[in-house]
């Protein structure tokens, strides 16, 4: 995402973090809704579900036809998977109508094939995964879902645009017509879970190319419904896919998704019959509807209510204080004002995973600091009277901490409850209410902090929890503080790190469970996160809507979908529905532009690669780069942005690259050597100058210092380079973080060297940058 010239070679945690962060923010929003107090609805628990509660749907004979109208909270920034950020009650619901995944996670945590024909097959060290598709599946534009499509989808993912990086996938290699092998940058024993996420969504690459930038508004997948129209923030219409690969499905003729942002309005629309099904955060406002005969499925697998501590900010760096905070909270009181289910039953929580998750460790409950006011008072006193207390105050001074939370109705109630409890335990509380965006910024911190992203808080309300594999969860939440923006608590622990390493290297499920269970034990004791209760999302619908919770896996295995918080629209039908007289045709996207892919080095100008290799070999190494920067790649490469290069019909004969990285947050440093046909290098540089920095740099940029090529030779820090040189200083921002780039183009004959230095949160070091450019110039001169 931040590299204007070349794909990332590592798993770019920073790049991943921005959409994940936005997702976390969404979850925080969805979990802060008000909930009924002390009332139990007529709901009964569905024993089949995992972490879900539900009313029971009456069975009946499937009826075809009809139109379903669904009320959703919000939509998506885009329907193009490489740039989309979906959450359950927003993007995922419509997306599940027109898209499908290669794999999906079942309620018991296992990953099962959907569009894939069978489980993915890893090599010995899980760095290569072979995936085979089901035969006979076509996209909504009529093109086949085959190995070529998967390879092309990977190219589109890597192109960047607004890009979410390729989730650690280095190469996608076609094995046969229906089989590809994904080569990863590093071992990933749970790669199938990646393909069960956005990265595994099948979209038509030819349609995406045909639509170009409009691909975000024209999704073309393989799903049971075909996208028809979208009025942003208003309505999205889909119609039945007549060529759907699962025989006999779907049953509905049309699904319309309507955006109704206000929860009360959504439920009112449901009650009045304007919509048939609505999504809701938690169980807010559901009880009256359930009493009137409406049905619901509630999913509590993620987004639990929590309080996170900044374990690097006194007094929260002291485990005694964190545990005292927890001991003071009475879950019965909490449940009385903010129950997690309509039954009002108490649901204690002790870890990321809900009690129904396969990763749940019941032993953590035994050591978790549940309500014990005398213990809380004792720990507060112990800390207060400790002469070496971490907050720097004298023994006996009051123990104070700041609690930050959002001013939503429910959070206001829980905050006041907590403050009362903590004051009873002997704390003094500085309470601060902040809007969600401000609070998230406070928690995340800035890259300029020491360590980066330290944050500026002591304790804050939060939404956490997980139902996926523990590796990406624990790796991001408790990895190195300076390079893991999602380590909100700034908590690290060698024992946790050791268990994460086991999760990363082991394939044996039992061994992996033990590692995850051990982490749950450590966290329950150390308490970087205080758990309130499970949270999640709910769908509520009228009694005519049937089979909301059903999903028969393609292999015939019965399942349900709300255990994963999803609705499989192909299964849903309406009692009393009649076929609609509406067109249900396929999509005819614009023709893709003529291929402009760069010729691979081995197919063109092989002799030139030798020269390029010589240049690369002579390029600067770690000796002149900042400490900690290591070479991350040195190989033949193709241009990252086929849409941007070649420009104006110019085609490099070869492109060779070398790059360096200083960890997940950079700096990112690299060079690419372009070999052009005679005369084209000059035109290419002119084109580059005319386009300022080029469309590869898709984040919010302002440029300064772009030197026009007409000057022929640009002087950098008193020196001139090559036949023509241009330098760009890019001041940009991505995800709220400043990203500053120095970019230099050096032309030497028919070669162009593009060198970049990207600094996150600061500027590239001027002296080192000059040395870097010096070394590039020397390499070009000697090799040419």
């Amino acid at each position: 995402m931040m590299n204007p010239g070349k794909r990332e070679r590592r798993r770019p945690a920073f790049g991943r973090s921005v959409p994940v962060l936005l997702g976390a923010m969404f979850v925080a929003a969805s979990c802060t809704s008000a909930t009924p107090v002390g009332e139990s609805g007529s709901a009964t628990t569905n024993g089949d579900t995992q972490a879900a509660t539900a009313t029971t749907e009456a069975a009946g004979e499937v009826q075809r036809g009809g139109k379903l109208t669904v009320g959703i909270v919000s939509e998506s920034n885009s329907w193009y998977p490489p740039e989309a950020e979906w959450a359950f009650s927003a993007g995922n619901l419509p997306a599940d109508a027109f898209y499908e995944n290669l794999y999906m996670q079942a309620g018991d945590g296992t990953i099962l094939p959907v569009l894939a024909d069978r489980a993915a097959v890893p090599n010995d060290d899980a760095t290569e995964w072979t995936v085979t598709l089901r035969p006979g599946i076509t996209f909504h534009d009529g093109t086949p879902l085959n190995a070529d499509a998967l390879v092309d989808m990977s190219v589109l993912w890597d192109e960047g645009r607004f890009a979410t990086p390729g989730e650690g996938i280095d190469k996608t290699i076609k094995v046969d017509d229906l089989t590809v092998t994904y080569t990863l940058f590093e071992s990933d024993p749970v790669f199938e879970s990646t393909l069960a996420g956005n990265r595994g969504v099948a979209f038509s690459p030819s349609a995406a190319r045909g639509y170009g930038d409009a691909a975000s508004e024209n999704p073309v997948g393989t799903g049971p419904f075909v996208f028809q129209s979208w009025t942003r923030d208003s309505e999205l219409v889909t119609t039945r896919n007549p060529n759907y690969w699962q025989e006999g499905q779907p049953y509905l003729d049309q699904i319309t998704f309507r955006v109704l942002t206000d929860g009360n309005s959504r439920l009112a629309s449901l009650e009045s019959g304007d919509i048939d099904l609505a999504t809701q955060g938690g169980i807010d406002g559901l009880a009256p509807l359930i009493d009137k005969g409406f049905l619901y499925h509630s999913y509590t697998g993620s987004g639990a209510g929590a309080i996170i501590f900044n374990t690097m900010n006194p007094p929260m760096d002291d485990k005694r204080v964190r545990r005292a905070v927890s001991y003071a909270i009475d879950p019965e009181d909490l449940n009385a004002i903010n129950p997690g289910n309509l039954e009002g039953t108490l649901a204690k929580k002790s870890q990321f995973y809900s009690s129904k998750s396969p990763w749940y460790n019941p032993a953590a409950e035994d050591i978790y600091p549940y309500f014990d006011m005398p213990q809380a008072e004792a720990l507060v006193e112990e800390y207060k009277n400790d002469p070496a207390r971490s907050d720097g105050k004298a023994a006996g001074e009051p123990l104070t901490f700041q609690y930050v939370c959002t001013p939503t109705p429910t959070n206001r109630l829980t905050s006041q409850l907590f403050i009362q409890a903590w004051e009873d335990a002997g704390f003094e509380i500085d309470f601060l209410e902040e809007e969600q965006g401000t609070m998230v910024t406070r928690v995340v911190g800035a890259p300029t902090q020491d360590p980066p992203f330290l944050g500026d808080f002591q304790a804050t309300c939060w939404a956490e929890g997980n139902d996926g594999d523990p590796l990406p969860l624990y790796d991001s939440r408790f990895g190195d503080v300076g390079s893991n923006v999602l380590n909100f608590t700034n908590y690290t622990n060698d024992d946790v790190t050791a268990q994460i390493d086991i999760l990363r290297s082991e394939l044996d499920p039992a061994v992996r469970y033990d590692a995850a269970a051990e982490i749950a034990m450590i966290l329950a004791d150390e308490l970087p996160i205080l758990w309130q209760r499970d949270g999640g999302t709910t769908v509520v619908f009228n009694e005519k809507v049937k089979s909301v919770n059903n999903f028969t896996w393609p292999d015939g295995t019965p399942g349900n979908t709300m255990d994963r918080g999803r609705v499989m629209w192909q299964e849903v039908w309406i009692d009393g529905a009649e076929p609609l007289d509406i067109p249900t045709g396929l999509i005819e996207p614009p023709a893709a532009p003529a291929p402009t892919t760069t010729a691979p080095p081995e197919e063109a100008g092989g002799g030139d690669v030798v020269v390029n290799d010589a240049i690369l070999a002579a390029l600067p190494g770690a000796d002149i780069l900042p400490a900690g920067v290591t070479e991350s790649a040195a190989s033949d490469e193709t241009e990252q942005c086929p849409g941007a290069s070649p420009r104006d019909g110019l085609s490099p004969i070869s492109i060779t690259a070398k790059s360096f990285s200083g960890g997940d947050f950079g700096p990112f440093i690299g060079t690419m050597v372009y070999e052009f046909p005679a005369g084209e290098a000059e035109q290419y540089m002119a084109s580059y100058a005319a386009n300022a920095v080029g469309p590869c740099v898709s984040y919010n940029t302002t440029t300064s210092g772009g030197a026009p090529l007409s000057q022929a030779v640009v002087v950098i820090d008193g020196k001139s380079y090559g036949d023509a040189t241009a330098r760009y200083t890019i001041r940009g921002e991505t995800g709220g973080f400043p990203v500053n780039t120095e970019l230099v183009l050096i032309r030497s004959g028919d070669r162009m060297i593009r060198a970049w230095w990207i600094a996150v949160g600061g500027d590239p070091d001027p002296a080192m940058f000059t040395a870097f450019v010096d070394a590039i110039d020397a390499a070009v001169t000697s090799a040419s």
């Binding site: 107090v37 002390g38 009332e39 109705p409 429910t410 006041q416």
Partner: protein, 281 residues
Amino acid sequence: MISRFFQRINDGLGLLFWLAATWLIVVLFCAAFGTLLPLPDPDRTQPRFALQPVLTKGHVLGTDPLGRDILSRVIAGARVSVIISVVAVTVGVVVGGIIGTTVGYRKGLLERVTMIITNVLLSFPSLILLLGVIGMVGPSLKTITTVIAVLSIPAYIRFARARTLSLSEEGFVDAAEMFGTRKRVIVFRELLPNVFATLMTFGLLALGGVIVAEGTLAFLGLSIPPPTATWGSMIAEGKSVIDRALHVAIVPSTVMFLTVLSLNLVGDGLRRHFDVRETAI
């Protein structure tokens, strides 16, 4: 004798005036001495006793979603409403009155500039301006009082200036000028006492507006942070349970309604009593 008493009341300010004044005295008493009353701590949460109905034993007006005594909180909220409204109106009356009277009497460039600024400030939608400023400086008793006071000053300037323009034509001002009294003295000794008398009744009417403004801020979550009780925040808390416990929102709403109505009635009564005419405004 009783009938004569009521007759006397009706001959003067009217029964409604005295009923309203009595209510305001009760509110003022609660604001001043509420903490001395034998009532539960208004901030003490008891979630397991949440949403008790009105006339529950020990909780005459019931309890809120956190099990707190609504009567205690209404009384505690009176303190906040009284402090904010009285301080904001007093500051507005004093500062706005002095500026308005001064520029109204002295006229000239100072008056023109002052009135341009005043008109500009008055042309902003006041609630939007209030929300924006509170959003920037952060909500607290001090900031809310200050911001409301400052934002209300232009209205008082305009009122005081208009009153001064008419008073300036009066004989006592001419007389003072003929005796060679300095203009500053005329402003402070001759004009301001007359302006303040009418400005006070205007301020009394504005008290209700300030209480409603604070309530609006609280309802939007921009007033004094919890657990401090304010009428607006109590109404906001009641909104989420209105389908099950109507009294949680109705009680503070009613108290706020009665208080604002009483302020209007008392203000109107006093205005009539002092024969303030607004035609010159």
